[in-house]
Amino acid sequence: MSSSESEAVEVLLRELAPQVLGAVVRRFRDFPAAEDAVQEALLAAALQWPKEGVPDNSRAWLIQVASRRMTDSIRSDVARRRRETEAYAVAGETTSEPVVEDDIAQDDTLVLLFMCCHPALTPSSAIALTLRAVGGLTTAEIAKAFLVPEATLAQRISRAKATVKASGVPFSLPAGSERTDRLRSVLHVLYLIFNEGYTSSEGPQLMRADLSNEAIRLARLIYQLLPSDPEVAGLLALMLLTDARRSARTAPGGELIPLAEQDRRLWDQRAIREGVALVSSALPKGAVGPYQLQAAIAAIHDEAAVPEDTDWPQILALYDLLKRMSDNPMVVLNHAIATAMVQGPSAGLALLDALDRDGRLAGHHRLEAVRAHLLERAGDRSAAIAHYRLAAARTTSLPERNYLMTQAARLAADATPGQETSNQ
């Protein structure tokens, strides 16, 4: 088999995975078992198809194989549990029937996403389950991406499935306000997957970058299913506009490069155009939400050819809106940065003092890193060094620690204090 053939098969399988799983869950009404059966069917196809060719109706093939696994496992249990005798009868009937295309509903993918991002799950469980059940990744691939042993991740997934089962959610779309809340959890999980891939810059880089790609792929999938939801469009736009800067974000040696110092020619213009178009058509719909606002802010950064062109007053206005919408201290922190860019470092520093009093971010490394940066711009070199060091001691990201230590070293080596004072 050629590697391009198996790659094409993999792409196809990942696309089919949620559709097949949806069909099997609806037939057998047992999500955990169906999920295992579909994984086995996907593995079988990954081995067979590159060699023997992709069957004409690949989706039906997978549903058939997964259903057969389901009946086999039910059959082996049947002597022990009476309750499942009924299921066996049902299963026996269904597998003898040919798979009809009506079995495949577009909504299935959406229903699966809602299940995998169930609020009863911890974020790490929801992420793992989503990547496997909807993303079609194997346990080994997910374990590699999160740098945990495969056995640990397998256990995380099986516990997550047990939680979903115990929660008793029906395999259908939630309605009304519940649907809005649950969609918010789904978007949040995708956002976390994206960040997991985006914020790492050491370690097996490719693997982690794949997580960002996977998050974008899944966000596209939801966008296709819910094209009129502006927050879905906003999330996809935010991912594209952030990911566009990926190759400019780290030096070849793995050091972080802050936005203002990135080589903007490396930014992915195609992703920027797509993201800008998405957010521009979402915003006028009137249901403005945090993802759209963050995407709009990212778009303003991405559209500045040089850092000096950045429209900071507009960014500040957007952070004002965002701050009113969510009570997230990280938003308040970013708002302080934008304020400093518009009104000067001391205005920003005053807002950081308010964050100290607020307490939720007190001692957080990002707060200290921002303070160090603003102190540096205000010309207070020794305080800036102290806060860069404080931030370095508190971050749990090695590349970030390296970056902050380098900033402190740079200032310490600077022979002329006070030269950095600037309002911009």
Partner: protein
């Protein structure tokens, strides 16, 4: 066979920040990233982690009812683990070789630090055949 290579370089009372120039820091960081990269490519790296500075460390003991009782780390502890590698190698000599390379990481003005690296075998042998 697996080995853990422990870099015991941090001191509780000393600031963890050497007064190196930006360039020396960069050289040091690049050296460490390259070392990990090489071990990954040679298929010998099982895991490598850098640890936070000692001021973030807590000593934990179970209290009477089993709840955690935490305490800061004690200043009398002379050295702290700064980071470790777990490698899967063919011989102890190879583990020592890797440790020596890590030990010679460049420091101030590029001079090798020659840090002490503690190398210990990991108990990963198969269980004996029980007859």
């Amino acid at each position: 066979m697996k080995y853990i290579l422990m870099m015991n370089t941090m001191r509780a009372k000393q600031p963890p920040f050497p007064n190196w120039s930006t360039e020396d820091l960069h050289t040091h960081i690049r050296f460490m990233i390259q070392l990990n990269q090489d071990l990954r490519e040679s298929g010998e790296l099982v895991g490598a982690e850098g640890l936070s500075f000692p001021d973030q460390a807590k000593l934990v003991r179970a209290g009477k009812d089993g709840t955690p009782v935490t305490d800061g780390v004690f200043p009398e502890s002379k050295e702290f683990l700064a980071g470790f590698w777990i490698v899967d190698v063919d011989s102890p000599q190879r583990a020592y070789e890797i440790a020596a390379r890590a030990s010679a990481a460049p420091g101030d003005k590029g001079v090798p630090l020659n840090m002490p690296i503690e190398v210990r075998p990991i108990m990963s042998g198969p269980p004996p055949e029980m007859l």
